[in-house]
C-alpha cells in the first residue's frame, strides 16, 4: 500500500500554466466566439 502511494507521487508531473495561456492566446478568436454561444 505504501509503495503504491509512493509510486503515484513519482508519476505526478507539474506544468507551467503559462503554456495554457499561450494556447488560449493562439485560439483567442475561437474562444471569444464560444464565450457568446
Amino acid at each position: 500500500m505504501k509503495k503504491e502511494i509512493r509510486n503515484k507521487k513519482e508519476e505526478i508531473v507539474f506544468v507551467d500554466p503559462r503554456l495554457v495561456r499561450e494556447i488560449m492566446k493562439t485560439k483567442k478568436a475561437v474562444l471569444k466566439e464560444l464565450a457568446y454561444r
Binding site: 505526478i12 500554466p17 494556447i23 488560449m24 485560439k27 475561437v30
Partner: protein, 159 residues
C-alpha cells in the same frame, strides 16, 4: 457560487503509459483560466462545478483502461485528448465554459505530449467555434462522437 482561485498554480498531470494525462486539479485550473478570460470580455460566468464526479470519472477512466493505449505516441495523445474533450465539452461537468474548457484541455494535452516547447497550433478562424459547438451538442452515439472529435483534433495537429 464562485470559488476562490489562484490561476498561477502549476498544472498537475499524471504520467501513465508514457503519456501525460490530466488530473482533476489541472482540469479545474484550466476552467478557471477560461472563466477568468471571460471576465476580461465583460462576462460574469460563474466558475462553479456542476458535477465533479464527471471530472473524476474522466481521470479514472484514462488510467483504468490500459488496453486503449497503443504505444504510438501520436495515437495515445489523441486518445487522451479526445476522451478529455468528450467528457468536458459533451458531458458538462461545469456550470459554464464546458466547450472552451474541453477544447483548451484537449489542445493542452496534445501540446504537452507531442511538443514540450511552444504551442503547436496555429490561430484558427472563429467558424471553428461552430464545429466545436456541433460536436458538444452530441446527438450521436458516444463512439461515433469520439470518432468525430478525434478527426477534429487531428486537423489541429496536422495544420
Amino acid at each position: 457560487m464562485n470559488r476562490v482561485v489562484k490561476i498561477t498554480n502549476p498544472l498537475e498531470l499524471r504520467l501513465f503509459k508514457g503519456i501525460l494525462i490530466p488530473t482533476e486539479n489541472a482540469i479545474i485550473l484550466i476552467h478557471d483560466l477560461i472563466i477568468y478570460d471571460r471576465k476580461l470580455l465583460g462576462k460574469e460566468d460563474p466558475n462553479s462545478i456542476r458535477d465533479r464526479g464527471l471530472i473524476k470519472h474522466l481521470c479514472d477512466t484514462l488510467m483504468d483502461r490500459p488496453h486503449k493505449y497503443t504505444g504510438n505516441l501520436r495515437e495515445d495523445a489523441l486518445y487522451v485528448a479526445t476522451e478529455t474533450f468528450y467528457y468536458i465539452a459533451c458531458e458538462h461537468p461545469f456550470t459554464e465554459g464546458n466547450k472552451s474548457t474541453g477544447y483548451v484541455c484537449a489542445l493542452f494535452l496534445l501540446n504537452v505530449n507531442l511538443s514540450k516547447e511552444k504551442p503547436l497550433f496555429l490561430d484558427s478562424a472563429p467558424h471553428e467555434a461552430e464545429e466545436i459547438t456541433r460536436l458538444a451538442e452530441g446527438g450521436k452515439e458516444p463512439q461515433e462522437l469520439r470518432k468525430l472529435i478525434k478527426e477534429f483534433l487531428q486537423k489541429e495537429i496536422s495544420e
